[in-house]
């Protein structure tokens, strides 16, 4: 009977497992079949740990010991195991974990299991853990493992190199920045030195300049005064040469105003006398419209003069005719006045309409009608008389105004001619003088400004008298050029210093990469790591070629060391009923070399009857020892044994189980099942 149940944690993963099915627990031989990496070897390894009280050293095989050590050191497990011999004479229960195992035991003499120490188990059970596959396969697996290990190391190297690359990059950048910083600091210090020298030189030059400047200030002020005076004189001279037309303009303007007023009076008079003047042909319709419609600037024109001449002549000519006509109309006018007075009297009586005494019974109304008719007959004469009477004053007035206008017109024309005569002369010099005046005016403005500027420095001297040499201006300008040159150089250097200081700010807080090594040392370390990586890569390649049975040429030293390494890993082999310690495994020529110098070829160790015999003989040796111990047989990877030989091994195990010499046989075998199957083998 056998049962194992465990929980195992590797990293953050937990696996639970229980073998075999409840129906199969009464068997003592099992084969765990299934795909690789599904815990077959783990299961038999945990059983081995349980039976050795977590002490892998009790297992003699080095390969298996390392597997057990891995499980013991790098996993956390809990497990329960139950074991009963085929004849049911003993029963063992084990439960525990990495830290502690507890054991319960019962034999035929005991009614129930009791808790025992590990010593009882050690006295009762011995564990045989074997991997009976082909030597080449086993070695190949070891080589593949080694290749993976080298690959892992190579990855570590690459990771290491990447970090060094970053460090090199950071350090290079840091060194560059430091170098720039030093250069800038050097530049600033150089500028400071230059500034000191320049400032000293400037101080001397400035003293000289200040002395000359004071003298020049007096010279400049005096020169500006003279210049302004000279220009003012020139301006006055030019102004004297420029005629003043303002009086002429005023006279013309006054005359034109008077002329305009008189013309306006004439127009009003014409308007008033229009009917008489037209009806007596004193003025034509055309002339009347011409005069009334003329614009003010045309009143002195020939047309208006001619119209006025004609009007004046006609007025004088027709004046007597008008007076004669007026006399002719005067008797009618007297009659009209009488009739008007009589009508006014009679209208007072019209209401009663009495008879008028002395007029033979005629009534007022009859007489009034008669008088009104007489009056109406004289209406036109009366109107004409009144109109002519009105002209009595107006015509002499109009004539007077026309004469006045002519006089004023002549005066105006004369004044205008005088002005034009003057202007004729003036026009010829006008542009030249105006241009000169404008130029002088600008020069005066500048001279005033210069005087004002010069005064500022002059005033500071508080009337101090400083004689200056005739070439003071040249001296001043030459010294000023030097003085300004120094100022410019100093300013330029200060600006350059500011630029450098701003640049320096960018390099002040540079963080040094966290290393005490120089760039060269890190570079050497990087090259060394690359060399190591390169060699590991070559070793990996050499191993691959060896697995492919095509060892790399020129790597004898490598293969010799590899063979020594394999010998150390394999440690011992079982051959001809004996454990042999080996010193070399020659994979290129497929043989083991023992410590005694014996050569055992792989073919002698083959998986056929030799391998099986080796295992069988070993088991027989163990079982033949006079011991009461029962064996737990753990066989890993039995797939490398051919089927016929496997059957022979199985028969042997069945027999020993029936004889109760073997307590349990647990074997592993790869298979393409989805999950691991725990198949019982009937005894």
């Amino acid at each position: 009977m056998f049962e194992i149940e465990y929980e195992i944690k590797i990293g953050d993963k937990t696996y639970n497992q229980k073998y075999p099915d409840e129906n199969d627990v009464n068997n003592n031989i099992f084969i765990l079949s299934g795909p690789n990496d599904r815990g077959k070897t783990t299961t038999i390894s945990l059983l081995a740990l349980a039976l050795t009280n977590n002490n892998p050293d009790k297992v003699k095989n080095e390969n298996i010991k390392s597997k057990l050590l891995f499980l013991f050191n790098q996993t956390v497990f809990n497990l329960n195991v139950k074991l009963k011999s085929h004849d049911e004479s003993i029963y063992i229960e084990i439960s525990g974990n990495n830290k502690n195992m507890e054991y319960r035991f019962k034999d035929a003499s005991m009614p129930n299991p009791i808790t025992v120490g590990y010593a009882k188990i050690e006295d009762t059970v011995d564990v045989v853990f074997e991997t009976p596959g082909l030597p080449e396969e086993k070695i190949k697996n070891t080589l593949v493992d080694l290749m993976h290990t080298f690959n892992q190391y190579k990855n570590y190297c690459q990771k290491y190199e990447r970090q060094l690359e970053r460090l090199i990059e950071e350090l290079t950048e840091y060194n560059n920045k430091e170098s720039k910083r030093h250069k800038i600091e050097y530049n600033i210090s150089k500028i400071n030195n230059e500034l000191q020298v320049l400032n000293n030189q400037f101080e001397l030059e400035n003293k000289k300049f200040e002395e000359i400047k004071d003298k020049y200030a007096i010279y400049r002020y005096e020169r500006a005064q003279n210049r302004l005076k000279e220009l003012t004189n020139q301006q006055e001279e030019l102004l004297r040469r420029k005629p003043d037309l303002s009086n002429y303009n005023q006279e013309i303007s006054d005359k034109l105003n008077k002329l305009s007023e008189t013309f306006s009076d004439i127009k009003n008079s014409l308007l008033k006398l229009k009917n008489i003047l037209i009806s007596y042909n004193i003025i034509s319709e055309e002339d009347y419209k011409k005069i009334m419609g003329v614009s003010i600037n045309k009143i002195t024109s020939i047309e208006i003069r001619d119209a006025f001449d004609s009007l004046e002549t006609n007025l004088i000519m027709k004046q007597k005719q008008i007076e004669k006509r007026k006399e002719d109309l005067s008797s009618d006018w007297s009659k009209y006045q009488l009739l008007e007075s009589l009508i006014d009297v009679l209208e007072n009586f019209i209401k009663d309409d009495p008879e008028i005494p002395g007029l033979q019974g005629q009534k007022v109304s009859t007489l009034l009608d008669l008088l009104i008719n007489q009056k109406n007959a004289l209406e036109n004469q009366n109107e004409e008389y009144k109109m002519l009477e009105a002209t009595e004053k107006d015509i002499p007035y109009l004539l007077g105004k026309i004469k006045e206008f002519e006089k004023l017109r002549n005066q105006y024309i004369q004044a205008d001619n005088r002005k034009k005569t003057i202007e004729g002369f003036y026009d010829r010099n006008h542009e030249k003088i105006e241009s000169q005046l404008k130029q002088i005016s600008g020069q005066i403005e500048k001279a005033r400004q210069e005087l004002s500027d010069a005064f500022t420095d002059y005033d500071k001297l508080q009337n101090k008298k400083l004689p200056y040499p005739p070439d003071i201006e040249d001296l001043y300008l030459s010294q000023k050029e030097k003085h300004d040159g120094y100022i410019k150089k100093i300013e330029d250097l200060k600006k350059e210093k500011e630029v450098q200081e701003r640049l320096l700010n960018d390099y002040i807080n540079i963080e040094k990469p966290n290393t005490n090594m120089t760039l060269e040392e890190i570079n050497n370390l990087y090259k060394l790591a690359q060399q190591v990586e390169q060699k590991l890569s070559e070793y990996e390649d050499n191993i691959k070629k060896l697995i492919d049975r095509n060892p790399a040429q020129g790597y004898d030293k490598f293969y010799e060391e590899l063979e020594k390494y394999l010998a150390k890993v394999v440690g011992t082999i079982s051959f001809m009923h004996q454990e042999r310690k080996i010193s070399q495994i020659n994979i290129r020529e497929n043989y083991y070399k023992t410590d005694d110098g014996e050569i055992i070829s792989f073919s002698q160790m083959g998986a056929g009857s030799t391998a099986l015999n080796a295992l069988k003989i070993r088991l027989e040796q163990l079982l033949s020892q006079k011991s009461n111990k029962k064996y737990v047989l753990l066989l890993d990877e039995i797939s490398d044994i051919d089927p016929a030989n496997f059957e022979k091994l199985l028969d042997f195990v069945k027999e020993k189980t029936k004889n109760d010499e073997i307590l349990l046989t647990l074997m592993t075998k790869p298979a393409n099942y989805e999950n691991v199957k725990c198949q019982p083998v009937g005894v």
Partner: protein, 40 residues
């Protein structure tokens, strides 16, 4: 990997690499490729 197995591989590599290379590789493996700031 057990300490013994590690030792076997180290012994193997020691025979193949120069002393400087071997010491560096040991340090790289020990720190799993991480640069130890104390050493740089």
């Amino acid at each position: 990997m057990s300490e013994e197995e590690n030792n076997n591989i180290y012994e193997f590599l020691k025979q193949l690499l120069s002393p400087e290379e071997f010491e560096l590789l040991k340090e790289i493996i020990k720190n799993k490729g991480e640069v130890d700031q104390k050493n740089v």
